[in-house]
Symmetry: C2
Subunit: 421 residues, 2 copies
């Protein structure tokens, strides 16, 4: 007569390394629960983690000593002893994230809850020498953190994110948009050495996924996906509170799915890739090829594609027929991609992030919601909630900051980071 | 100067519920290590799990008492105290899996290491009444287990697998190939009640993935995918030794990816799905539409598609030009699908399983290996190893047996199963 219980989510249900009950995995779990469910009491942490009361007390004591967590000062009356409530100590630790766009670099600093405390946008150097890029990033880091008057001891480090492929272990951005010189240059080590902080490189879409997961305080029992529209099209998935990385941290490359069989060759080596039909640069090229459109929208020949795409997207929002046709075409492609992501991961939550969604995000959200409701494979069992990032333009940089914070406040959970000289 | 270590595989690195150090997750971890790395000593288990020596001793003692694990009798000389070696006690526990094909039902019994000890194949009843199907499965279970003279106390239970969608929690197969009557019928409960054993239903491709992972003794640090060609096309992914399930156990549905935009409507609700271009039934229809081919290959009008596809595949292997053209066309579609899987999950290992690969598997393996080597997104960072199941026809049924064994020997790892009346 026992009702059968089926765990719907085996993936990640078992730690690879569980160590002692108070080991790094447990600390990460507690930090993640306080982040997503806080303010929360120790008693609730015991209930939700399955850890013992002494173990929770020990972990919380250490987190408070480390400044990661604080008591709110409020208590919950329960009839018995009042329970103190715990939250992430947002001002004790900061992370820095930088996103390399094709023409610009976005830098953000966030607090330990993922809230943005500082932001800078600079032009990307035209020089492809990687040490020139490194110098720019070093200057940007100093300008940002000194401008905010952040105590260097409170900065967890820096993550630089860009299009994949990435070689996370060797600090290299190998992305198709990056120039050959980058491939042999350990950008992570160069930045870590110059700034004396932990520094990582990572994929922009992956970073955006963990940033959105943190920033939106998503519960770790969701199957959470992020569809990213930047220079290219990518995605990231968070399972049990941690990014799915795969064999080499290059998962999520939905932009390089073949959507037109034997279609045009892509820089990635595949053919007929989604990016060749739906990415902002392709749409801008098409807008320029549409007679009279570029002139009418005042898209200049020298405009970078990011700026030109914003102009096109704005015209679509305002109802220009030619612009709408192009953006809606792109939205239909991305809706197919959303169904692919939902069907392969069995997602219940999807967030749209990246600069491509900054202006005409509502057009994409509408199309993707409708498509998932009509066509997602498991739609008879559960819906897929679709939402737009509250800051799509900065989401990759914010995610970079989240990645370095995650590794710092919850070791064993995010990437393990240490300084390298 | 500390070298930075980046954990390449955060997904699943942290348990949702870690409980005490000797909790269910740790038992699952130890069982999985003994399964994949055994014969293995207690000292090596301490090293590989990060658990303490007393914890490992306790877990192993209980596993031996439960009959799940045994000592080989051999020891390793280390200079100090000789170390006893542990293996899974393959004869102490058996699982039964049944695969519902369109025309046939395959039943297998496996030992605790996933080795097949019994096999039966019967015709599927033409009657669509789900209680008729349940009666057939009950009879098949009794015939199989009594024929093998298995002690009922050593049988962990039964998993019935078929095409998705599945409602694992409510014991229902909702698959597009299943008839409407199935949707309201709790097959799992009916079987559990009649046979007085734990009984599950699950997706065939998902089951095949965990079966291949177990049977091949794959290490849990691989990012392991299985591409399944049965009545439809599916996939499953194993991360850190456990299936990725997603929100409702309906992940991996690569057969319902749109591969031809605005293509023909599919029974799943989507359009232009991969299954409509590359599944065995579609190829058989095409073979029948090719002038003279069905006659030449002696594919009769009344042949079920499974048998007809085997005939077609055999002709392709023997070099019939028309048959080769059809099979190679299907292989090219599946190679695109393999790139999609590799790119989204960043796989390092892919196994091809399912009856569709039973005859012409080598044609598919060749095409998929070449495509991944040429076009996988992360190919500059690592290869994707591609291999054919050693028993593609039975892999879903074997996987069903693995699922029920996993839940039994390693609770907290596989689905939690209990009997229902």
């Amino acid at each position: 007569m026992t009702p059968r219980k089926t765990d719907q989510r085996e993936g990640g249900n078992v730690a690879r390394r569980e160590a002692a009950a108070a080991g790094p995995g447990s600390r990460a779990l507690v930090v993640d629960l306080i982040r997503s469910a806080g303010p929360i009491s120790r008693v609730e942490l015991v209930e939700q983690t399955g850890l013992t009361q002494p173990t929770i007390s020990n972990i919380v004591r250490r987190l408070i000593a480390d400044g990661v967590v604080r008591e709110t000062g409020e208590t919950v009356a329960t009839g018995g002893k009042p329970r103190a409530l715990l939250v992430i100590n947002s001002q004790a630790l900061f992370g820095v994230g930088m996103h390399l766009g094709p023409d610009t670099i976005t830098a953000v600093a966030t607090n330990a809850r993922g809230g943005t405390v500082g932001h800078e946008l600079v032009a990307r150097p035209a020089d492809h020498d990687p040490s020139v890029l490194a110098d720019t990033l070093i200057g940007l880091y100093r300008s940002l953190t000194q401008g905010l008057d952040l105590d260097p001891h409170t900065i967890a480090g820096l993550t630089v994110v860009g299009p994949g492929p990435v070689d996370v272990a060797r600090g290299r951005l190998l992305g198709p948009g990056e120039h050959g010189e980058q491939a042999g240059f350990d950008l992570g080590a160069a930045l870590s050495r110059a700034l004396a902080i932990p520094a990582l490189v990572d994929n922009d879409a992956t970073a955006a996924a963990i940033g959105e997961f943190w920033g939106r305080q998503v519960s770790r029992d969701r199957t959470f996906g992020c569809l990213y529209l930047g220079a290219g099209i990518g995605s990231g998935v968070v399972l049990d509170g941690a990014l799915h990385r795969g064999a080499s941290s290059n998962s999520g490359e939905i932009g390089h799915n073949t959507v037109v069989r034997d279609g045009a060759p892509c820089v990635c080596g595949n053919r007929g890739c989604l990016e060749r039909y739906a990415s902002p640069s392709v749409l801008v090229d098409r807008a320029r090829a549409t007679p009279g459109l570029a002139e009418r929208l005042e898209i200049a020949a020298e405009d970078g594609y990011g700026h030109a795409f914003d102009t096109l997207a704005r015209a679509a929002v305002y109802g220009d027929a030619d612009a709408s046709a192009l953006i809606e075409e792109s939205a239909r492609w991305l809706a197919d991609a959303a169904v692919t992501l939902a069907n392969l991961w069995d997602l219940d939550t999807l967030v749209l992030a990246g600069p491509g969604f900054a202006v005409a995000g509502s057009i994409y959200v509408r199309e993707i919601r409708e498509r998932l409701a009509d066509r997602a494979f498991a739609r008879r069992l559960h819906p897929v909630a679709v939402d737009l990032s509250s800051n799509p333009r900065d989401s990759a940089a914010i995610g970079g900051a989240a990645l370095i914070l995650q590794g710092s406040v919850a070791p064993g959970h995010g990437p393990q980071v240490a300084m390298r000289a």
